[in-house]
Amino acid sequence: MGRKLDPTKKEKRGPGRKARKQKGAETELARFLPAVSDENSKRLSSRARKRAAKRRLGSAEVPKTNKSPEAKPLPGKLPKGIFAGAVQTAGKKGPQSLFNAAQGKKRPAPSSDEEEEEEDSEEDDVVNQGDLWGSEDDADMVDDYGADSNSEDEEEGEEAGVQWLDLGSLQPPPSGFKQFSCLSFLSSWDLQLLPIERAARKQKVREAAAGVQWSEEETEDEEEEVTPESGPSKEEEADGGLQINVDEEPFVLPPAGEMEQDILAPDLQRVHKRIQDIVGILRDFGAQREEGRSRSEYLNRLKKDLATYYSYGDFLLGKLMDLFPLSELVEFLEANEVPRPVTLRTNTLKTRRRDLAQALINRGVNLDPLGKWSKTGLVVYDSSVPIGATPEYLAGHYMLQGASSMLPVMALAPQEHERILDMCCAPGGKTSYMAQLMKNTGVILANDANAERLKSVVGNLHRLGVTNTVISHYDGRQFPKVVGGFDRVLLDAPCSGTGVISKDPAVKTNKDEKDILRCAHLQKELLLSAIDSVNATSKTGGYLVYCTCSIMVEENEWVVDYALKKRNVRLVPTGLDFGQEGFTRFRERRFHPSLRSARRFYPHTHNMDGFFIAKFKKFSNSIPQSETGNSETATPKNVDLPQVIPKSENSSQPAKKAKGAAKTKQQLQKQQRPKKASFQKPNGTSKGADSELSTVPSVRKTQASSRCQDSSQPAGKAEGIRESKVTGKLKQRSPKLQSSKKVAFLKQNAPPKGTDTETLSVLSPSKTQATLKPKDHHHPLGRAKGVEKQQLPEQPFKKAAFQKQNDTPKGPQPPTVSPISSSRPPPAKRKKSQSRGNGQLLLS
């Protein structure tokens, strides 16, 4: 059907039709279709439009009962649209057809038989009008006088809801036109509809009425739900009254007995809903808790539900609950169910990123650059060819590598012509990245302990065209004995894999406390070996990067903190400007404040595998630990001679030794602690007892014995003071253990300062005493800041120990509280008062 000419907007009459500007279908059709509010209106055919127009004409007088703007689009909208269109066309065509009739063109029967044949005639009229309309396209454009007024009426009638056009409001046709009686009979319009159309209208009316009622009911329901209820909780009350259409029953924590029943036949949907409910309650616990139920009950229930829903073991889930707040926890668990996007790294030794991207796109791979932090990374969205078998891959143009695995190499920043050690290199992605950054200069020693995985290293390095690498098969702990003096070292330590659960779901269940501690132990050993392999005096290097694909604090911050104490290294910024900072405190542990420069990555926040990266700088090649026994024997004397012997006596050497000895003493004592959960440790210096047992005893015993020899020299009085002070400190820490500790120290005091006896006494006290002693001995070191005078001297030494490790080794230890200790929180106030009292007791 042709376009209607709008006389108000005269189109340019040019030599051809094309001279008329076309405004686009939307503007054209807007005149036909009722409104944009009519979302259900279809594009109607010309016949449909005519019918709709007729319907609208006839139903204009129908009472507008269904004007409520329901949320649901009613089917009535559709007929409305049809009506509107039909009205328009009919209205427009009416005068036209009349005009034509007057002109004696072929007219349908209605012109003669108005009453009887109104129905049929009307239909025919519409049909014929359509035909006429179609045939007289051009002429109609010019002579459509009625269109304008109709469109205006149409727009005026537009309101939300059903539109009924009052045809009587139309402009009267020009005089002289014989008006069809059908047009004037508005009330009889219904009769002229097809039966189906009548039924549709009735249906529409009915539904409109129903819809109104439904919407009224809905608002009532919501109001009911909004009313606060005392006992049970409602999710919609959270977040400032966010109204959610949840079902009526409030969430009730199932009684303890029922908690066990679910294990047999968990209904996952129910479990999932319960998880969401509990998370909502816990978010606003004060307001939404159920009376009489404790927070721990809710947490336990949540833990069980999460374990059921996501198939985690209890241990790992408990660790994750400690690590993440609840909202993040659910996100983290969800992220672990989904694999991370596939990423690859361009091998700049052979190609450039844009060339590679072009070549891969030509093969049918959908990819994008990885991010502005990477110049060589590409992320693959989907691919029609296997991305690990394209000719470009085989030619060594790229390597499939996780995004988080690119970060440690970027942090290490290997320079050309350097000697680099990669301690755990399989499958060779990081090694090859380092080689390409070094442009195949210098040397890389790629080592791995697993022979099977070394094959893939060889394959990958050859494929990527890396020529500056030597591949070896050592246990990483054998460095630096094999070869040392590297400029930089990368240690991607074997870990529990809790950051890559999405790659290996078995980690969810097969990791427990033992595994984590074993991993931590191995990582500590490897890290110490790696540190020893770095040449601190290297002109361009002296850096070490330690990274794991785990998110556990025991494998990350704890290990780094351990290394900071044991070696002359310090943490430096990684150079990565995104990622979460490492923890400086976690539950009851306290770590060195420089751990803030370490970086953590999570799957749910960064969309890459869980990772931890820490960058060390070694500032001295000397190893504090391995100093001779003489140094350590002086420790107790120095430590405990506060007022008696002036600090000046404690020159740099004894101070060093003191520090070392203090450490060894602590470690010696610690090693005798029975296997305890490491959570009992108050500060980050504590190490897993079992982790120390293996390597420490042999070293410690010799040192202890030598120490004891020297300690025989100090005056008995001093020692007595020392012992009492230490005892006092111990008392400070755990008052309930006073008596037993006293006994232990008195026992020590009783035998003369024979080397062996003291050693024995140190080594062989009862288990409990041994545990108490080191633990408490440790406490004052870590905790006490505002301590009494007696305890002051010991602390500076210990703090000096930390200082020395973390800064340049200085000689005289200032008796001030070192900045490092400031990271440790002050002890509980109540303990101080107790200790004061106890200390005085002892001294007197």
Binding site: A359, G388, A389, P391, E392, L394, A395, G396, R419, V443, L445, L454, K455, S456, V457, V458, G459, L461, H462, R463, G465, T467, N468, T469, V470, I471, S472, H473, Y474, V482, V483
Partner: protein
Amino acid sequence: MRPLTEEETRVMFEKIAKYIGENLQLLVDRPDGTYCFRLHNDRVYYVSEKIMKLAANISGNKLVSLGTCFGKFTKTHKFRLHVTALDYLAPYAKYKVWIKPGAEQSFLYGNHVLKSGLGRITENTSQYQGVVVYSMADIPLGFGVAAKSTQDCRKVDPMAIVVFHQADVGEYVRHEETLT
């Protein structure tokens, strides 16, 4: 790890010279450092002196690889070139063969090159000459031996073999274990 004996050196150079001819000298005398061949566990490695010094510290049974492995000596002391040498053969190759995109996959699976897959071939290639195989985008795919001289290649029917397959980059995926 030890240097090659005279005999071994001769055998190996002969083999390599089949592909790159007198450019072999360029492998040995490089402007950016002295490179040498070393034998370790029957495999020949091509390394620079600096890297070799570091590798000398590593005990023999722990050393897995150094530099680039060119190939290995078989039990009967014949030298077999591996695909890992491709990066050094490709730039210096004297006779090259380009294969069509459709025939790439077949070659990467270890099949010989048929006449139907042959895109281009260097002029005056003699029969049984060592050739390096490229894709049409000039990506080296492997090397082989010409089954027919260039003249014969024109005459022969499309299903005839024109290049015998010897090594291809698909072996990185197919035969990962044999690389070490």
